[in-house]
Symmetry: C2
Subunit: 434 residues, 2 copies
């Protein structure tokens, strides 16, 4: 087998065999196949597509390229969730404790934030001491003994995907559905996930800009899961406006804690209940989605979920006093509440603008490995459809730099649009794929 | 400007601006743009195509990536010819002396053979002492004083093309018309060519397998020439069977000398007259193609062309006694005439099989820089359409290895096909593009 023949076969629109896909991914992982061959191949995949069979084989080949976890000795069904990334998406911080509070063990390996979408690990690291670099052994032990883990992916997990993703990023080959789907699913499968909820975000603040694309991605991922005897439910959720109110690491942790204690923004709470409900259903902790969501809501009301979150923080070395007194969490030097310059119904709060402004304030990173400021961010006080009066608080900026604050005020104001007429709230979900 | 944005633009099927193309080629030449970005871009070009404007800009950018020759001080019109490569194609050895004999100066930079198609330089190097590595200054001086030059391309000529071609070869991106056309034309333009004949070969023994492809390539190249105020005529010539009879370096030199002395195979002679005629017309040495071909034929009959060939060999340090007594040229240890195993009309002599067998005998190279054996090769004695009797000589093998000879005999026999019924000869040309 020659790499160039595999590239040519895909270039000519033919289906690659499982052996060819494995040869290519193994070769790329070992370095026998070069970056310039992999990027030409990725462009051919982007432009010519892949069958479900090819995408599944690619997923399996990347999953097999490094260490794999087997959780079957610790749990009945290894549950997992994945979000394709959005603005204000602190869902994992609430959903995993809920699921744990409902009696199911759940361990998750998360990535870091890049670009305008924040990363779960970055958020959790607002809590001093919280470790996100557990070893495989620590992961398994904590999953068994505490029942709840939230840590970073090890470099050994699907290294082919890590290598290929970095290449795709600089060669214009990110936006290929088979490559996106296999990238996500290979990590889930390598991490041992057997039943999973995939939160596919759609909208200006998401990777998938339109519903057709998002649904196509969801369908491929669910199909891959089926083909390898796993179960996946994909939810198509709205990412045109931020999820919840808080955007920025410590601000999001506070909002998550609020939600875990039965409060929190209505949209975010409902989003978490939907994701948690689907996970509980997959984990057979409830017979129907309705019953599962009721169990999830109860876990919030009775503070069981919050207590699980506390145990998670303690287990991973975090200072739990920051959870008990969120006011202790990193706080910005300049906090400015910005009033609405006009009255009307909000018809648009641009999630991407909010996300990018938050990054510019220092809450995120544009380059892998860059440091972030846990304290800064934005709290938007309204949702599309809300009626606001002139002078009423519209959003609050948390900044550690005056110039950045001024810039952010202007940009976030421009991200809001008003209508004199009533505006319908945006839906939370556009449906699901099973 | 970011390289990745240029890749994405081409990926999305948009037209690149001249500035973007120049930025990309300059960056690739300097190393600022990586191989893995260039290969992804090349795949996008292959799958999405390029407009004539883009292809022309790409040609100019590659031509400008290194040294360029300006022949206007030495000649009225810098003439050139190019063949896309075939089996038994020793046309340059005959055509350039004809053109020179008709009073026009002509200098050509040739490439080496790779794969089943032979290279002009390799053929000329059958003559001991013949130098193919003239400097730019030597080239210009000889063109002025001798009026005839045949040397190798310097590495400084369109280095972007050399680099990109090597990359395309291992990334499945060779077969892209805009890339093929710009590769050929960038070298011609960098070498200073103003009026040129492009011999586009079509058939099993050529790079272009079918007439539509070949015509499309011809059209693009002629258009590029027009857009940069040069003139090109493209001839579409048959490469299903070998051109002439001889395949292999010294064997082809002998056949060329024979032709230069008024003999040679009928098809090869006619091919040379057509190419030379078009060059003479472009060089304004004749008013019509008919008159130009008559001049060319006269140059063969009166031995003027042969004398020009002698002067070329002398000028470049070759031992002219080998031209005067071709029997001195390298000769193989084993020469075997193979009789026809049956009677009939020849309906197929596979040029690719003949070319590849010749390479296996040692006449060509599969890898750049590999040594070649000038003595070995094949002489096919017939053309498609010929009637042969059983036992009549079908082809002669020239080998330096018994095992290879046995193998070659079998393969060349299998490359011939007979018919009991009359078979029409193959056309020499399928037309031309101006």
């Amino acid at each position: 087998m020659r790499p160039v023949d595999i590239i040519i076969k895909k270039r000519d629109g033919l289906e690659l065999s499982p052996a060819e896909i494995r040869f290519f991914i193994e070769g790329y992982t070992s370095g026998a196949i070069t970056d310039y061959q992999a990027s030409a191949w990725a462009m051919a995949v982007l432009l010519n597509g892949m069958t479900d069979r090819e995408t599944t084989e690619l997923t399996l080949a990347m999953a097999a390229s490094g260490e794999t976890l087997d959780l079957t000795g610790v749990v009945d069904f290894a549950l997992d969730k994945h979000s394709t990334g959005g603005v204000g998406d602190k869902t994992t911080l609430v959903v995993e404790p809920i699921v744990s509070a409902c009696g199911l063990r759940v361990g998750k390996m998360s990535g870091r934030g890049l670009g305008f979408s924040g990363g779960t690990l970055d958020k959790m690291e607002s809590i001093p001491g919280f470790r996100t670099n557990l070893s495989k052994e620590e992961f398994l032990l904590q999953l068994k003994e505490v029942g709840l883990v939230l840590t970073g992916q090890t470099d050994d997990l699907a290294p082919a995907d890590g290598k290929l993703y970095a290449l795709r990023d600089v060669t214009g080959t990110v936006d290929a559905l088979p490559l996106i789907a296999s990238s996500i699913m290979s990590k889930k499968i390598a991490a041992g996930a057997q039943r999973m909820v995939l939160d596919v975000k759609v909208g200006v603040g998401a990777f998938m800009k339109n519903l057709d694309q998002a649904r196509a991605l969801a369908r491929i991922m669910v199909k891959i899961a089926k083909r390898v005897n796993r179960k996946a439910v994909a939810l198509l959720s709205n990412m045109n406006q931020p999820l919840g109110n808080a955007v920025g690491n410590a601000l999001e942790v506070k909002e998550a804690i609020d939600t875990l204690q039965g409060g929190g923004p209505k949209d975010f709470r409902e989003h978490c209940l939907q994701v948690a409900g689907n996970l509980l259903l997959l984990g057979e902790a409830a017979g129907t989605l309705r019953a599962a969501k009721q169990r999830a809501a109860a876990a919030l009301e009775d503070n069981f979920a919050f207590e699980r979150f506390r145990q998670l923080v303690i287990a991973q070395g975090g200072d739990v006093s920051y959870v008990d007194e969120p006011a202790k969490l990193p706080s910005a030097q300049f906090i400015e509440e910005v009033p609405s310059p006009r009255a009307g119904y909000l018809k648009w709060i641009d999630a991407k603008e909010v996300g990018e402004t938050s990054v510019e304030l220092g809450a995120g990173r544009l380059k892998k490995g860059a440091p972030i400021d846990h304290a800064v961010g934005i709290v938007v006080h309204h949702k599309v459809g809300d009626k606001v009066e002139k002078g009423e608080p519209l959003f609050t900026l948390h900044a550690n730099d005056k110039t950045k604050l001024t810039f952010a005020r202007k940009r976030i104001l421009a991200a809001h649009k008003w209508s004199p007429k009533k505006v319908k709230p945006l839906p939370l979900f556009y449906g699901s794929v099973k």
